[in-house]
C-alpha cells in the first residue's frame, strides 16, 4: 500500500500542476552538507589559534624549571583556557564537524611529530600573544557585534599578556 502510494505521488503532483521540487521546501537531502557560514569559519580559526596558544604555553611550562616563571605562565595559560571555553560555547556546528578545522595547529608546531622536547621561549610566547591580538582585531570588521566584542576582549587580554611577558 505504501509502495503504491509512493509510486503514485509523481502522478498526483503532475495532475495538480506541481513539480516534485515544489512539494518539499526543506533542504535537498541529496545536496550534501551546506557550506559553513563566515562566522563559523571565523570561530573555527580563532579556536584553532587558541588551541595552538595553549599548546605553546604547555610546552613552555614543561621546559621551564623556574618556579616563579612557571607560576606566571600557568596563570596566563588558565586565561587562554577560559578563552577557549567561551569561544567553543559560541560555536554550534553540524553533527560530525570539528570545532577547529585542523584539529589544533599546536600539533603542527611539532608536538607529537618528534620525540625531542620543543623548547618554547618567553620571547616566542610574547610574539604569539602579539600576533594573536593583531589577528583578532583584524577579524573584527567582518563579524557580528556580539562576536566582535568577544574577540576584542580576548585581544585585550592577549595584549596584557604581552606586557606580563616583558613586551
Amino acid at each position: 500500500m505504501l509502495l503504491a502510494s509512493a509510486a503514485a505521488l509523481p502522478l498526483l503532483l503532475g495532475t495538480a500542476g506541481c513539480r516534485s521540487s515544489d512539494a518539499f521546501t526543506g533542504p535537498d537531502p541529496l545536496a550534501g552538507r551546506p557550506p559553513l557560514g563566515h562566522d563559523v569559519l571565523t570561530l573555527q580559526a580563532v579556536i584553532a589559534a587558541e588551541e595552538n596558544m595553549i599548546d605553546l604555553y604547555r610546552m613552555a611550562i614543561s621546559g621551564d624549571s623556574r618556579p616563579s616563571q612557571a607560576r606566571t605562565l600557568r596563570a596566563l595559560l588558565a586565561q587562554h583556557q577560559q578563552h577557549l571555553v567561551r569561544l567553543k560555547a559560541r560555536l554550534i556546528v553540524p553533527p560530525g564537524t570539528s570545532a577547529s578545522p585542523t584539529g589544533g595547529p599546536g600539533r603542527q608546531a611539532g608536538a607529537g611529530a618528534s620525540t625531542a622536547p620543543v623548547r618554547v621561549t618567553t620571547s616566542r610566547l610574547r610574539a604569539a600573544e602579539r600576533a594573536s591580538a593583531a589577528d583578532l582585531v583584524r577579524r573584527l570588521a567582518t563579524v557580528p557585534p556580539a562576536l566582535a566584542q568577544l574577540l576584542a576582549s580576548i585581544a585585550a587580554s592577549d595584549a596584557t599578556h604581552v606586557t606580563v611577558l616583558g613586551g
Binding site: A75, A152, S153, A155, S157, A159, T160
Partner: protein, 149 residues
Amino acid sequence: MAETAGAAGTVAALQAALAAEHAAIFGYGVAGAHLTRSGQAAAEQDWTGHNKARDTLAAMISARGAVPTAAQASYQLPFRVHDAPSAIRLAAYLEDGVTRAYLGLVAVSDQRLRRFGAMAMQDAAQRAASWRGSTQAFPGLTSPGSLAP
C-alpha cells in the same frame, strides 16, 4: 532609516566612551593625591593619556554633528580612597570602566571605529593590569561601569 539609527548608535557609543574618559580624568585626580611618588608619576602619565583620548573623542563626536557630553562636576567613588592601596584599586577600577566603555564602540557598524575601540580597550586593559598587578581573561566584558556622577 537604518543608516540614521546606525549613526545615532555610533554617536551614543562615542559619548559613552567620552563619559568614561571624563570619569577617569576625575578619578585620577583623586587617586594621585594618595599615591607614592612612583605611583604619582604613573598616574600622571595615565591622566595625560585620558585627557588626549577625551579630546580625540570630543572631536570625533563634533565631526558627526553632535555635542560632546560634558564632564560632571563630581563623581561618586566606588569605595573610600584614603591611602596608596585604595588609590591603586581606584586606578584599576577607572581603567576597567574605560575598557568597558570602549567595548561599546566595537559593536558599531563602522569598521574603523571598531578597530579604534579595540585598540583603546587594549591600552586601558594594559593600564588596569599594570595597576592591579594581574591580568584578566575578558577585559571589558566582566568589568564594572565607570564612575557615576
